[in-house]
Symmetry: C2
């Protein structure tokens, strides 16, 4: 029965939903980058790297968090020198969150590490197969049941 495909994918994705798995991933990715970079603050760095400097409210919407959480995480990153608050020239009540050079380096390092881990596990695959798999995974997660 074709229902097996759904269950097989569900089982596979269950691995990623496990708390301990995610913790280990983040631990490896952020190793040696200082105390401030961890599973909690990573989405802030990642979101800023994607879109450039922006307000706390906009970032909160993107990462699905309350603005207070963004404020606290930003404070931690600011104290560690990875993030800088600069006043919005167009609106004096707003403060833009921007990565410092160290912050850009940190997110770059983590992204490189994750990509390297992934490519290691794909090393034994036929190259064409790996690329089609990457495209399919991207399509599945973007237009799938996990984005709406």
């Amino acid at each position: 029965m074709p229902n097996d495909v759904g269950h097989e994918i569900a089982d596979a994705l269950g691995t990623l939903l496990k708390r301990s798995t995610r913790e280990q991933i983040y631990r490896r990715l952020t190793e040696g980058l200082g105390e401030a970079v961890d599973e909690v603050t990573y989405p802030v760095l990642s979101g800023l790297a994607r879109t450039g400097p922006r307000s706390a409210a906009g970032l909160a919407d993107e990462i699905g968090l309350d603005r207070s959480g963004v404020t606290r995480r930003a404070t931690r990153l600011e104290e560690a020198g990875l993030l800088r608050r600069e006043p919005d020239p167009a609106d004096r009540r707003a403060t833009l969150l921007a990565l410092t050079e160290a912050g850009r380096a940190a997110i770059h390092t983590t992204r490189q590490r994750l990509a390297a881990h992934i490519e290691d596990s794909l090393a034994s695959w036929p190259p064409g197969e790996a690329q089609t798999f990457a495209r399919q995974l991207h399509r599945f997660l973007d237009h799938g049941p996990f984005t709406a």
Copy 2:
């Protein structure tokens, strides 16, 4: 450059690592199943469904959690009638955690829902492509950098 494959997969997986995404997934899966079934208690149900009745310590190892957490989650599920504690006949200090009929029904419902969501998003794919994708995903996550 082949490095793009790693980054593309990394970006795709980032979606699943987002807190809000996981919350929405669990919210959909456990809708209408009672207050006791949520993101926190789900791994207990899932683990028991996979392996049958077992001790709290073994379950804690599997889901990567402290035994105290398993105890508390099991208590919540027990009060909701989804889980039953039965004494281990071979060891009177041990208590086996076992799903009740309602617990089995709950985990079955969530699994069916998740599989249905996944298959909906795969409906437009060529059938062979979906199956090979499922196999590749399974292989990637099991023998990949996320299991060790």
